[in-house]
């Protein structure tokens, strides 16, 4: 037995270099000059490096830094194409991960590579890929470098168009989990199929119709080798012995009934006619007890819709969202931050803000239940009118809201959200009484003349700190903030400009008032210098009225850009697309290098 094993190992030892040689030389042989002519290589790279210093004001010492005084996150993408064939790979390194990124990212490797070809109406990808069905309610693979978020799927992806106006996609694979290779115990397998039907292309009679209609539908399923897990439930009862009353608590252990397969489906439509556009998608997910919903057997439901109308100089937009128990991951015990193994994507219906104070209290989607609304009007007062001036004035008003959904008990003796039960009942499109988020913003943009332009913005935000930061569903920690921004740009010459940005944030809650100022001097197209300071002047604790100062320098040459920044990074939530990452306080030097080729 032992000998046999050895022999097997020996075989492997020889096999590896042989295969290696074959694979290294195969491309070289294959690519005779004529084939190489069509070859193209492109790619891009980004390296962020930080050197941290101790900062007694922020309580940062070598030991709080774990003696990791240097952090570096970097990636390089390389893309090879030749006619209908392409190959892609991404090298990533986190040595060590910068502050605020999960330590499980530490290391270097190739977490993403694929080969892809197109023949006729079929496109095949093998390896890692990002795919999205509809708006992503039941499936979306995506990556956001600044968040340290990547849920790419490793497997096969096919796209096929059997007829004009019809696009069918199918995929099977497993998702990325830091650097951990797939094993049956580590996570599940994701399968999905999706169809898009462009009616105007499918039916001759509709070819020239002004109204464009697209219908779509998808089905996704995950298989997982489920663990055996149990939970305990207490039941209290009283016994009277003689004159004494004794209270007892009986603990009973139950096993969860965890499904191996969890399916989901979605249907969607898009109708557009000139400046009018309507999109709606409805999705359902099967019984899926998981760590996010505290192991309840309830099904998931989601609706997302947007409607907009616009013509030159005027745009109006309205979107609604209702989600109930829609966390969908390829491992049921996975939860927490950073969010990993998400199969689906639940877009937040709140606006993404551009100014740092407006983004200080950001919203993150609550997958267990949320009602969201957003409305926006963009209007440009025409050029050469009294109010518009020579260049016009743009006014943008946006309001967004996120609330809890209404949850009712499934029976009088079972409290809401009890683990190992159906959890609760909720009527479709119900509106609960816990505000998660409110945001009103009004923005004016005006160009006075060729050299001077200005933007002024006012924001009024309500932020439920308990819900968004601590997952405590009550309304006891609401932050009410007023924010004002003035952003002025003055052009000295065609190439030289100065930008001055002033911001103020006023609140009685959390850390109190803030003021900030940025001065940025730019020499197009290459140089940029900036100094900025964010000052927490209104903090109730006088000792931590901190200045978060920074000086920055940037140099761009075509697609190469290097920027150097020294100063303090303010702690807070950094959010992209409703997914957030906590960034702690830090002080130090940051160098960023980006390049495309």
């Amino acid at each position: 037995m032992l000998n046999f094993l050895k022999e097997d190992k020996l075989k492997k030892v020889y096999l590896v270099p042989t295969l290696l040689l074959a694979l290294v030389f195969l491309p070289a042989f294959l690519f005779s000059q004529s084939f190489l002519e069509g070859s193209k290589v492109s790619g891009n790279t980004q390296i962020d490096a930080q050197v941290y210093s101790e900062d007694s004001k922020l309580g940062i010492t070598d030991s709080t830094l774990n003696y990791k005084k240097f952090g570096m996150n970097g990636f390089t993408n390389v893309r090879y194409t030749n006619g209908n064939f392409s190959a892609y790979m991404r090298v990533e390194g986190f040595l060590n991960p910068m502050i605020g990124y999960d330590n499980r990212y530490e290391g270097i490797g190739v977490p993403y590579w694929n080969v892809n070809y197109k023949i006729g109406n079929l496109e095949m990808t093998a390896g890692h890929f990002y795919e999205q069905f509809g708006s992503g309610l039941i499936l979306r693979g995506w990556e956001e470098w600044t968040l340290g978020y990547d849920n790419n799927i490793y497997g096969f992806n096919a796209k096929y168009s059997p007829a004009k106006g019809v696009m069918i996609k199918g995929l099977v694979g497993v998702q990325r989990y830091f650097w951990e290779p797939y094993t049956p115990d580590s996570r599940g397998i994701v399968k999905g199929i999706d169809g898009d039907f462009y009616l105007n292309d499918m039916f001759k009679g509709m070819n020239d119709a002004k109204t464009k209609i697209t219908l779509g539908g998808s089905f996704v399923s995950k298989y997982e080798k489920v663990p055996t897990m149990g939970f305990t439930r207490d039941s209290a009862y009283t016994v009277i012995i003689g004159d004494d009353t004794v209270n007892w608590v009986k603990k009973t252990t139950y096993q969860y009934n965890l499904p191996h397969n969890v399916g989901s489906w979605a249907a969607r439509m898009n109708i557009a006619n000139g400046g009018f556009s309507l999109y709606a998608e409805y999705a359902e997910k099967g019984n899926d007890p998981n760590a996010t919903n505290d192991y309840i057997y309830l099904k998931g439901q989601a609706l997302y819709s947007t409607v907009s109308f616009s013509k030159k100089g005027f745009g109006i937009f309205f979107s609604t969202k209702w989600i109930n128990n829609m966390s969908y991951k390829s491992k049921l015990t996975e939860s927490g931050n950073p969010p990993m193994l998400d199969i689906n994507y639940l877009p937040a219906t709140t606006k993404v803000h551009q100014y740092s104070f407006a983004a200080m209290y950001p919203y993150a989607t609550q997958p267990n239940g949320e009602f969201g609304l957003q409305g926006e009007i963009v209007y440009t007062i025409p050029k050469k009118s009294v109010l518009g001036g020579k260049y016009g004035t743009t006014i943008t008003v946006n309001y967004s809201l996120a609330n809890s959904i209404k949850k009712e008990q499934i029976s009088p003796e079972i409290p809401i959200d009890s683990t190992g039960t159906d959890g609760y009942k909720s009527k479709f499109f119900s509106f609960g009484d816990i505000p998660f988020y409110r945001d009103l913003s009004v923005k004016f943009e005006h160009k006075f003349n060729k050299t001077f332009k200005a933007k002024a913005v006012y924001y009024n935000q309500t932020y439920n700190q308990h819900v968004i930061e601590d997952e405590i569903y009550d309304k006891n920690e609401l932050v009410y903030a007023h924010i004002g921004v003035l952003d002025l740009t003055y052009k000295f010459t065609h190439k030289k400009s100065l930008r001055v940005e002033m911001q103020g944030l006023w609140t009685k809650e959390d850390k109190g008032n803030w003021a900030a100022m940025t001065l940025e001097y730019n020499v197009a197209p290459k140089w940029s210098f900036a100094v900025m300071d964010e000052w927490n002047y209104g903090n109730n604790n006088k000792d931590i009225r901190i200045h978060y100062y920074n000086i920055a320098f940037g140099y761009t040459e075509k697609t190469n850009r290097i920027s150097i920044r020294y100063g303090r990074q303010r702690e807070g939530l950094l959010c992209v697309g409703g997914v957030c990452r906590y960034v702690p306080n830090s002080t130090g030097l940051t160098i960023t290098l980006t390049s495309s080729f």
Binding site: L20, V78, R79, K312, P347, E376, T380, R499, S596
Partner: protein, 173 residues
């Protein structure tokens, strides 16, 4: 097995990289499916301007410098088109959270470019875009001959200079 594949991929890149030194040809656009504002599918290989240069700007509704860039170009775009016949494709990388805001936003702003929606970043990845704004200029043969990242006030003057050089057949480097 994974390592072997990677090694062979690398070999592919290296051999190609070497062969490319011999020929100085701009890259053609990758063929990726994106959408127009009315939800119709559009293949990026079909971006063209009848033999005249094309500018492609990657942007997002949440990107401050991108909006500045678009505003600045919009102010002079009519003159650009009149003088050079250039066409600008504006590719929004807004995801499904904000992609439906794009149409009312660009119309409200009164921008008059060709708009495309790259909702899951497929075109962005294929073009090697790290962060917006990222601007590409294509010559009349639809080959990428110039690109630039970031936006500083006044950068648009350089874009049109490059376009004019391309039309005159001058060296743009």
């Amino acid at each position: 097995m994974k390592n072997l594949l990677l090694v062979s991929l690398l070999a592919l890149f290296v051999t190609t990289g070497y062969s490319q030194e011999k020929k100085e040809v701009g890259q053609k656009l990758p063929s990726v499916e994106v959408k127009t504002l009315d939800g119709t599918a559009f293949n990026t290989a079909d971006i063209s301007n009848n033999g005249k240069p094309v500018i492609i700007c990657f942007w997002a509704t949440w990107c401050k410098p991108c909006i500045k860039e678009h505003d600045a170009i919009n102010d002079v775009y009519e003159d650009w088109v009149e003088e050079t016949g250039v066409k600008l494709y504006s590719v929004s990388i807004d995801n499904s959270r904000s992609s439906s805001r794009v149409q009312p936003f660009v119309n409200g702003k009164g921008w008059e470019f060709e708009f495309l929606l790259d909702v899951n970043g497929d075109f962005k990845r294929a073009m090697g875009v790290n962060v917006p704004p990222h601007t590409f200029i294509l010559n009349g043969n639809n080959e990428i001959v110039w690109q630039h990242v970031g936006y500083l006030d006044g950068d648009e003057d350089e874009y049109i200079e490059i376009v004019k050089k391309i039309i005159k057949g001058e060296d743009i480097n």
